[in-house]
Every structure is written in structure tokens, then in C-alpha cells.
């Protein structure tokens, strides 16, 4: 699957990268990325995930062919 990250996540991951791990859900993906880069965990825990311009929940089942976008909290204020 292809992963794309934004904003502060670019301090922890490449802007866009391929991931070939066997992962079943978005929750798995979150855990996997946390293990790859533990410093990113606090941010990852507050991120939303999107597939094809739709937000998906932690339970969303991955096929392995998705383009997954990881969305940190918005700028707020």
C-alpha cells in the first residue's frame, strides 16, 4: 500500500512511501507506523486516516492496494 503523510508527520516519515507489511486494518497500520518510529506515536494517535478522499475508521479493512492518507489535527485556532 502507498502511504502519504502531511505537515508534522513529514518530520517522522517520508512524504510518500510504499509499505509492504501484512496489515489488516487501519488500527494495525497505526500500530505498525508507531513501531517504525516511536517518536511519531503521540501524533499518530491523534491522526485521521483517509482513503480516496473519504475518512475511514480504525476498523477499515485494508486490501493492500490502497493509497492511504494520514491526516494530523488541523491548524485550528
Amino acid at each position: 500500500m502507498r502511504i502519504q503523510v502531511f505537515a508534522i508527520l513529514k518530520d517522522f516519515f517520508k512524504k510518500e512511501f510504499e509499505l509492504n507489511a501484512k496489515l489488516y486494518t487501519i488500527a494495525d497500520l497505526r500500530t505498525h507506523l508507531s513501531l517504525l518510529n516511536p517518536n511519531a506515536t503521540p501524533v499518530l494517535n491523534r491522526c485521521r486516516f483517509a482513503v480516496q478522499d473519504e475518512f475511514v475508521t480504525d476498523e477499515y479493512t485494508l486490501t493492500g492496494n490502497e493509497h492511504i492518507v494520514i491526516i494530523p489535527p488541523s491548524s485550528g485556532g
Binding site: F6, V43, D53, P73, S74, S75, G76
Partner: protein, 155 residues
Amino acid sequence: MDFITKKEIDLVALLQKSHCPSAGAIVLFSGEVRNHNVGKSVRYLEYEAHASLAAKMIAEILLAARNRWSLSIAHAQHRIGKVKVTESAVVVITASVHRGEAYASNRYIIDRIKHEVPIWKCEHFADGSKEWGGNCNCDKETGDVNKHIYEFESV
């Protein structure tokens, strides 16, 4: 509709397009880059967006505003890239028969954009440091990154 734009926001052109024979009230909000934040001097901001999703969400928010209030005009535009002090980063324009709706819907639109839409700002300070502003931390209160505490609900 350029909801997300790399170009300088043309407030004047947007305002000039917003006069509507059936509307008695126009409210224009411009969110502009300040020369200071959290006690530090700001050189400029850099905005990044997940542009396709952001544009889609802004369209949905504008539609929700139109469904909630009777509006002649509901428009919003957010700039991305480098934005200098006093330049507009985001504009919201609403128009309605009476002023109550124009103010309320305008506030609703900007609050939802700020909390929900995937747009991020990186502050570049005068001292050369930079920082991604993750100002929306409603989830610390609500326990859910999809549940926000909107300002328009408490005014």
C-alpha cells in the same frame, strides 16, 4: 470554485462579487497572518493542505451552512503555500436577508474549516525556528479526533 488556492486571495474581487439584490447583509471574514504568536515574532506562515479532500470538505461545509440558514451567498477560500504578514490565508463570505444569518453562518463556516479541514500551518519565526501549528486539540477534551468543540456553539 477555487476553495484551495496557491495564489494570493483577492479579497477585493471576492467582495465585489458578493453584492446581491436580495441580500441585506454581507459578512466577510479574513484570517490574516499576524506578526506574532505565542510571544514570538513571526516572519511568515506556510500552509499545506490535502487539497482534494480539503476542497471537498469546504464544499460540504458551505452546503451545510446553506441548509442551516437561508443564504444568498456562502463562499470560502483557503490559501496554501507561503503567506506573508497581513496577507489573507482564508476568507469566508456570507450574505443573507437579515444580518443574524450572515454573521452566524460565517462563524460556523470558519470554525468548521479550522477544526476539520486537512489544512496545516507551519509558523516560521524571526529567530529562524519553525513549528507546525496543531492548534486543534479538541480531542483532548472529547476523546475523539472527529468531535470538536466549536466556537460558534458557545457564543
